[in-house]
Amino acid sequence: SPAKQAEAPKAGGLTPIRFATDWKAEAEQGGYYEALAEGLYARHGLDVKIVQGGPAVNVPQLLGAGSVDLGVGSNPFIVLNLVQAHVPVKAVAAEFQKDPQVLLAHPGTGVAALADLKGHPILLDDASITGLWVWLKAKYGFTDGQVRKYDFNNGPFLADKRAAQQGYVTSEPYTIEKQAHEKPVVFLLADNGYPGYASMILAPDTLIAKDPAAVKAFVEATAQGWRDYLYGDPRPADALILKDNPEMTQDVLDQARDKLKSYAIVDGGDAKAAGVGTMTDVRWNAIFDVAASQGAYPKTLDVKQGYTLQFLK
């Protein structure tokens, strides 16, 4: 039970933290793994255990039930959903200033901009349908009828020239090119005005109230982890990732890390000045305006309930 975990004796004086990621170990979690591998968490007084996610792992639910202490929120809609469902969980840092989400289309089909995808079938996963799809509909007038299920298998996309598909800038463009020898047209949503953060650290209110120091320690150690992963020696993290996820390969990790840097996913935007993990009220309000414009959320929703800036410098 959650209560018991929280009061479990600290191993060697370290605070035990179970941290749930939103996907199997990959370069997109490099900062967390680097912090763990380099002992940054331990140096901050934390005994962190990373619980791998997957296509069906629902991090907010795990947090709400107290099964884990901290977790990754993939996109800001998750935070809005938490607020709407009155789940006492908050975002405490945003590791990705730009969401790496992309839409992919086939080359030579006349799709030159996102707006051209109107009427095309678009393959989206479950989380994206309740997330970025809201933004896409609002901005481009897409309709639900275009949505097709994306099972993280590129086959259906490759088989249909009219199709578009979601992806991570760090992952799908590379794998598709490798598999199908076709360079897909890539639209980074963030470059098209999508305001969302990604890879946010979520913390339950109880933990924030009871042990704010631990939360702060985690946020700081993670920020350091990201800096080290991107600009230091990524090998400790890579080794851990490859161990947790034996299906991962080094070439995929390398190209993903390159993309994280070249697109300035982690250290672009506000982070350039304010450091890794930063969030702002302005940005959150912008996010909420987009999300609520389609009627998916009541205008009265108090977005401030969903995040706190108290752990950021």
Partner: protein, 255 residues
Amino acid sequence: MTRLTRALAPFVLIAVLLAGWEIACRALSVPLYFLPPPLAIAQALAADWKPLLLSAWNTLSMALIALVVASVLAQALALAVGLSPIMERAVRPLAVVLQVTPVVAIAPLVVIWAGLDHAGRAIVALAVVVAFFPIFSGAVTGLKAADPDLELLFDLYGASRLQRLTRLRLPSAVPYLLEGHKVAAGLALIGAVVAEFVAGSGEAQGLAWRILESSHRMQTAEMFAAVLVLGAMGAALHAILEAAERAGLAWWRGR
């Protein structure tokens, strides 16, 4: 009185269970998003009944088509197999492989085959895969359940394989076929839902869409409401098949 008791029994048990659930939720103050109490589910149901019914209809129609297709295919294959023991030994393992093949694994292939513009076909095909086996297995078992003395009689009169199949084994299989369909009906329904999870489109939003949406938005009460509608559909389908089974068996036994 007893008739009333009988008619009310399911409702009484359900009411008792629901009351216990409601009380437990309140007593332990379980958060709504974790496990919603029945009243919250009822509210969600009342608020959303219109889109829910529409989704339910979408799912049900897929499931019914799938059930019919599965029924026809499974029985046809069982009959073909019933004509020759060698065919049976050859086909049966393949049927098992089909049964244990995860829908998620073959969904992309089926989607490719059906084309992205025909999500409905893909859903039906996947639901057929899920519902196929109990009917096939029941048919194969039933085809062998004929009275051995009647089998001797058919030997005696020099019945052809086809005659034996249609005039003896198929009628003998009726009780097993009915049972197989009862199990398959639920599987067709859940198969349609699972298929929509993995191969659905936004065009005809079935219950799976509602369930996933509510689940991701942590609106657990809404999710339970959708599951409840699904359960009610399943129960109704089952009740219809149960009645059909009773009538079928009475016909079969001749009393």
